[in-house]
């Protein structure tokens, strides 16, 4: 029994020597069957993932891409997004249905904001960056507004932003026509995707302009959180 075991061990050693021997290795290569990697299962996984991602992206009625100029406020509200006319207010632009209708200007103590100020704002909005007290104060004093040239009669007192109002009127008309063909009532809903630092005045102006274009149900997009 012990002899046969020893014999087997010796054969194994011989095989190992042959494997590392050049001639032996070539022989082994010729004898081995050709192994082909089967990627069909991987293809199936990839196809399912692709379909899932495409469906998820296209079915999102708002499809918000957050950036340094568009950070949503946080809330625990649970109302789901619905198909509606979207108005996006970033720190730089006022956008209706993916086309910019007005620029948003920014002031700090009477001076126009610079790119450094926007960078500071983006940096200090993340608590982990530990901004100094004066940096936080400067970032918080940035005031965003729409220039009076966009407003009715070019007056700062006015709340009606004319390019926004015109574009919304056009979209409302289109939506009304579509709804009439489909036999659905016009709901007058607008989703306002607004950056968290936009001041109340500008929000009131946007809401007023939308109200003048027969939109009366305002829904503000927020980032849903579990704590308030």
């Amino acid at each position: 029994m012990a002899d046969s075991q020893e014999q087997m061990d010796l054969e194994n050693v011989d095989h190992a020597i042959n494997y590392f021997d050049k001639k032996g290795r070539i022989k082994v290569k010729h004898d081995a069957p050709e192994v082909v990697l089967n990627i069909n299962s991987l293809m199936d996984i990839m196809t399912i993932m692709l379909v899932f991602l495409l469906v998820s992206i296209t079915s999102d009625p708002l499809s918000i891409q957050m950036s340094d100029t568009l950070v949503l406020a946080q809330s625990t509200v649970e109302l789901k997004p619905k198909d509606s006319i979207p108005i996006t207010v970033t720190k730089k632009h006022l956008i209706v249905d993916k086309s910019a209708v007005a620029n948003i200007d920014c002031k700090i103590g009477g001076q126009m904001c610079t790119q450094d100020d926007f960078d500071l704002k983006a940096r200090c909005s993340k608590p982990e960056n530990n901004c100094a007290a004066d940096e936080i104060k400067r970032a918080n004093s940035m005031l965003f507004y729409v220039d009076k040239s966009y407003k009715k009669d070019g007056s700062d007192r006015e709340f009606l932003i004319e390019p926004l109002h015109k574009e919304l009127e056009r979209l409302v008309k289109t939506q009304k026509d579509e709804n009439m063909k489909l036999g659905r009532p016009f709901e007058g809903i607008t989703s306002i995707i607004v950056d968290k630092d936009i001041p109340f005045r500008l929000i009131a102006e946007i809401v007023h302009s939308a109200g003048m274009a027969e939109l009366h149900d305002f829904r503000f997009a927020i980032m849903k959180m579990t704590t308030r």
């Binding site: 990627i39 069909n40 991987l42 293809m43 990839m46 196809t47 993932m49 692709l50 991602l53 495409l54 998820s56 992206i57 708002l62 499809s63 918000i64 891409q65 957050m66 949503l72 406020a73 946080q74 809330s75 625990t76 509200v77 649970e78 109302l79 789901k80 997004p81 619905k82 608590p127 982990e128 530990n130 007290a133 005031l143 007192r157 709340f159 989703s191 607004v194 950056d195 968290k196 630092d197 936009i198 001041p199 109340f200 005045r201 929000i203 009131a204 809401v207 007023h208 109200g211 009366h216 149900d217 305002f218 829904r219 503000f220 997009a221 927020i222 980032m223 849903k224 704590t227 308030r228």
Partner: protein, 196 residues
């Protein structure tokens, strides 16, 4: 003389596997691109009514007087106002010092916990009322207004909170599986004096 059998008829069809490698290459590029474009943040919507501007409408004689509860947000904190006929004083809720783990120094923060507690008192006194007006200084940013609306939206398990951390983590009170509303109809209000 026997003929040679047709090679075409007797040939075995040798179907080769489709080369999936180029398709795989496309998928490997497409999927990370889509994952990058995909938003993993859950978006919800806060419903708000149009701002009230100008003089109030004349009231009918038999019309029940509305509470006209209004939260005014300014740099000093919140002021809770209501219709003058109800003869209750305004509630002033000043900013409160909060210790934040992310900021080394304690800082002043809006006292949402106390605002919620005061709103709960109003709700107990006027349980039918569901509308609240929200007015603010023009420079007050949206994220403060959004948290203010959140404080006025639903009732929580407790009717009063002292601590902002406890308030922030408090669970919503449900009745028959539906959140118990507080003042969930929010109306933006613009102060005509400010608008001038």
């Amino acid at each position: 003389m026997a003929r040679k059998p047709s090679e075409r008829r007797h040939a075995t069809e040798n179907l080769e596997d489709i080369n999936l490698t180029p398709i795989m290459s496309i998928l490997v590029i497409l999927i990370p691109m889509l994952i990058f474009a995909f938003s993993f943040i859950e978006i919800a919507l806060q419903q708000v009514a149009a701002p009230k501007m100008g003089p109030p409408k004349p009231k009918q004689a038999d019309e029940k007087k509305p509470l006209q509860l209004t939260i005014v947000v300014n740099d000093a904190g919140f002021v809770l106002k209501q219709q003058a006929d109800f003869e209750e004083p305004d509630v002033v809720i000043p900013l409160k010092e909060q210790a934040d783990v992310a900021v080394t120094q304690p800082h002043l923060e809006y006292d949402y916990a106390r605002l919620y507690s005061e709103l709960m008192k109003k709700k107990k006194a006027y349980s039918e009322e569901r509308t609240i007006n929200l007015a603010a200084d023009f420079h007050i940013p949206w994220h403060i207004l959004a948290r203010t609306i959140d404080a006025a939206r639903v009732q929580l398990v407790e009717s009063a909170y002292d601590d902002l951390v406890q308030y922030a983590q408090a669970k919503v009170k449900f009745t028959d599986g539906v959140p118990e509303p507080l003042f969930d109809t929010v109306v933006f209000m613009v102060d005509p004096d400010q608008a001038k």
